[in-house]
Symmetry: D2
Subunit: 332 residues, 4 copies
């Protein structure tokens, strides 16, 4: 069976990580082409893979006969158009989240995919492939905690990027929960509300941390904390309290150290060490599906649309004093 | 220095525990009289302390010349009247929470105490004497996590009592948080809202678990989960996320066991093992203050009024679709 | 019931701690007299207890009619003579470990106690009253791990005192395990061997850490690590592996903190915070036994003799290249 | 770059796992041939890989022109001869541990490899590729705990196989520590002793658990517990106590559950889930080295000889009452 020839659009951190993972750790994948608007950056990343070429033209990459399937890891604003171009070219595409910044644009992508026959777009909600989240979902499905009633999700990072807005906490961070929670519970989010500490960071000008409440169709209630400037480390938590008990992600640290009057484990500085295995398994699953012409087990374009609709509802709540807002996912 | 002679009103679980703790473990305390409307129960508890007498008349206990100070652990509905009787008799009193079921009645008690010269009533918010909570408060005050921004409090129990109402989750369980959070942050609760999973337990007829949001004057936001029928055990958690890091109560289990493919620690079935030390230290601190005629370091009647006002605001929110309600503490 | 009037010999750290614990936290105890060869130190400690007197004459304290029972917390070398004086005076005595530096002297004390009718000496192996060790013993006895086969005991401290010798690691630190292990297993230690890393600390001139192997009559094997200069904190561990599982002491920290890329709990600098509750419960149990003229539930003089015999066997092994040595407890 | 064509000898659990891992998760590897003395078993495993063939002749597999490199996962007794055949055929080989049952045979293999020019044999001490062990080694090397002084290694399993002998606890289980400890410390094991609880399992007829002491050239002392019938789960622990602190493997569980009065994490039933990632990374590193004609980063044949020599010394101690035995590695 010959390898799936993959073109990667975007040679920033995320794109470079994907190229490295595909090349070094994904069975049956071959990176053949790397595109970036910054041609030098594309060259640098392509040079890490024997035989790979570089371009500054993403559309040329999509059209290239040496590319069987496309990974989109370029700027968020480009995802929709590139995904549409890929499906029009009939090529499977693994697009980093978000699918698009607005539900309107997400709808446009979903429609384009439908017109191309469907099933071509996979969305990079990588938590679905994190071994700990997979165990959590399996345990919930097996009834280990009984019917889920209350979930507590926490996403903390070291510091926000310059220019970060209040909305980014929702669209860039909490959006992972908007996909993960319905996936874990097998039940869509129906209403949301947004709350924040009054304290506004003097340094960042942001409302941070933020707290959101999500209600799913099964009646469960979820609290989501996003804290971009938590300072101490990158820390993702999830606990599900059900009728018979609870299930939670364990601290993923591999070492315990005793020193200086303390027993400690460490946190990574960002998401990459925490989710390296999730990215690998996601890309492996996607490559396998492409190779075997099977349906992709990744999140779909419609999942991306749904998460975007939840984010929009949360931002509406943010702008309306924390009012409870119904989530409306456009029919496509 | 002669011992403080203590009369205990109420010979149920709580009262019997207090008698045992005072007799066995509190230096300088002597239980001399036990009162209960059920005289046999009073006799049974009194018989565990050499020299202690029993009565079915709480007011006689308060008036008894062999009683220097009074512990009230009778039915909640009796607390206010008995506390007032004790202060009118000029005797220090340690009253179990709640001070009274309504702010109106709390005000009546606070006024009676003021008329008696003040400083006679201590309220049994025992978490203030739990060594873990004390360490937590000290660490916050020392700046270990920076300014607190977000708190997560969880109170879970095995099962609710028969006849338990939605309101009891607030007045009987969450009320501890209404005292603990302002005490930890040194900042009063100013507004609240109430939220619950739609799921109503088929077994209990209760809305359980419940989720409440509290905002304190310092701008911090607190989530409070109460889950009376969590099933798995009695479990109290508290985490404070601040500008520089977090602080949380550790799991208080003393043993770790490996068996049957699992590594585990155990939970108690109710609050008594969890807070036995807190009760002991609270009663010791109160006894010392009485003996030395110093101000009591326990929560005051006014603290009880404040917690009651928060509970009333939460119940107002509960009855008004989760609307955010300002907390109004009557001026006394 | 009137209080037990206690005289405390020794006003150093340990003695001052005992005076404070007895006065502040032990029900039914009254410290009436404090002795120390340094009269000023005795005065200072006595002044913390209303009504307590001071002396520089330990034997006068023992003879004092205002002293019902004696606590010995003076220099190790004085324990045997003072314990003998107390039993000859017919007074119950709680002697800090060790009972005496040699089995020869321990035998002398045990004989003196026998001649006085027995049952007067309690020995301060406080771990028997530590709530975690008590739970561990109860769980073993309840069969939670099946028959114990292998134990791992670790005692680590921050740094050794100046002038500390290799032998002190055995007689001052491991001696706690020599009492705890047979108490946990209900089986005496029958043979021992001593092992150490070749590395000798340049700073301390000690062989540290040390490793000892103990075999008990039930066939179980115990590893004992003593590490006086572990640097990071005071850390006591114990795990029992049995036929059906394991049981171990949990980390006793009360708080968990996130900061600076780490999740951590703290260690105390020395044994006092770790075993404060054990000392309190030990003194309470002893006071209760004295007051009620019941047999003391503390370790006995004979337990002290036994632990001393184990220590001597370990030191014999230390001086003989780690050879396995039979433990011989003199018949008394 | 074309894939490395791999032939796998042995279609039992270990061999089938390797085939699955190579096929599904190793980039650049292609399983082309599977050999087993049981042809049906070979067929069954080969059928899981499109294009792979099967044979019952291991030597034919080694000689096959469609095989670039060989994995040996057949019965332990066959390892030496097959490894020699592979190196004589000039093919890189990844041989499961042990290299051979005796140092004598190990020497024969090492000599055969030397005659073939060296560098062809890699040995499957997979712990070197376990992410937690890799972090541990890196932290030690970075000085995180100061100079290592004392190590505690524990290997526990659910139950031993029928026919298991006392020696197997050393050659089949502790042998991993004989490789891991010198690798972690960068210092060879120089002397050993063996100790066991007197208790002999009525069920298994084995001396189990066993305790071994290892001394490395750097002066550090290591305790090794092997407990084949620990019952509760597969559990591997390692703690290093150094001059400035300790480092230890964290519990690798991914979920924490609350239920039935307990907080718990689970243990796997055997080594495969625990070390799945180690095997994958080991096979990836080996495949990369073969493809790039670089030296293999895996353990070498000489490492296998060394571990075997340690095992023989331990067994000598076992048969001589626990005497301390010097490790002698034959010069080759």
């Amino acid at each position: 069976m010959s390898a799936v020839r993959i073109g990667v659009i975007g040679a920033g951190n995320m794109g470079a990580d994907h190229v490295s993972t595909l090349h070094r750790f994904v069975s049956g994948a071959e990176v053949t082409l790397v595109a970036d608007v910054d041609r030098e950056r594309a060259d640098a990343v392509a040079s890490t893979v024997p035989g790979a070429r570089a371009t500054d033209d993403a559309h040329a990459l999509i059209a290239d006969p040496g590319v069987d399937a496309v990974v989109i890891a370029s700027h968020d604003s480009t995802h929709a158009d590139l995904a549409i171009a890929a499906v029009r070219a009939g090529k499977p595409v693994m697009c980093e989240k978000p699918l698009a910044p607005t539900t309107r644009e997400c709808v446009r992508v979903v429609r384009a995919e439908q017109q191309a026959g469907g099933g071509l777009i996979s969305l990079g909600f990588m938590r679905r492939f994190d071994p700990a989240y997979m165990e959590l979902k399996a345990a919930v499905a097996a009834g280990a905690c009984g019917s889920p009633l209350l979930l507590h999700c926490i996403s903390r990072g070291v510091s926000s990027s310059p220019g970060c807005t209040d909305e980014f906490s929702v669209t860039g961070s909490a959006i992972h929960e908007f996909d993960t929670v319905p996936w874990l519970l097998d039940s869509p989010i129906t209403e949301v509300s947004w709350h924040a500490a009054l304290t506004t960071s003097a340094v960042t000008g942001l409302r941070d941390p933020q707290l959101m409440l999500l209600r799913t169709a099964d009646g469960a209630l979820t609290t989501v904390e996003t804290f971009l400037n938590a300072g101490y480390g990158y820390d993702i938590r999830c606990e599900i309290a059900g009728e018979r008990g609870t299930l939670a992600l364990a601290n993923p640290a591999r070492l315990v150290a005793d020193a200086d009057r303390a027993r400690s484990t460490t946190y990574p500085a960002d998401w990459r060490p925490r989710f390296a295995d999730a990215y690998r398994l996601e890309l492996q699953a996607w490559t396998d599906a492409v190779a075997q012409q099977q349906p992709s087990p990744l999140a779909t374009a419609h999942d991306g649309l749904t998460a975007c609709a939840v984010a929009e509802a949360v931002i509406t709540s943010m702008k309306n004093g924390g009012r409870t807002i119904d989530v409306e996912v456009p029919e496509v």
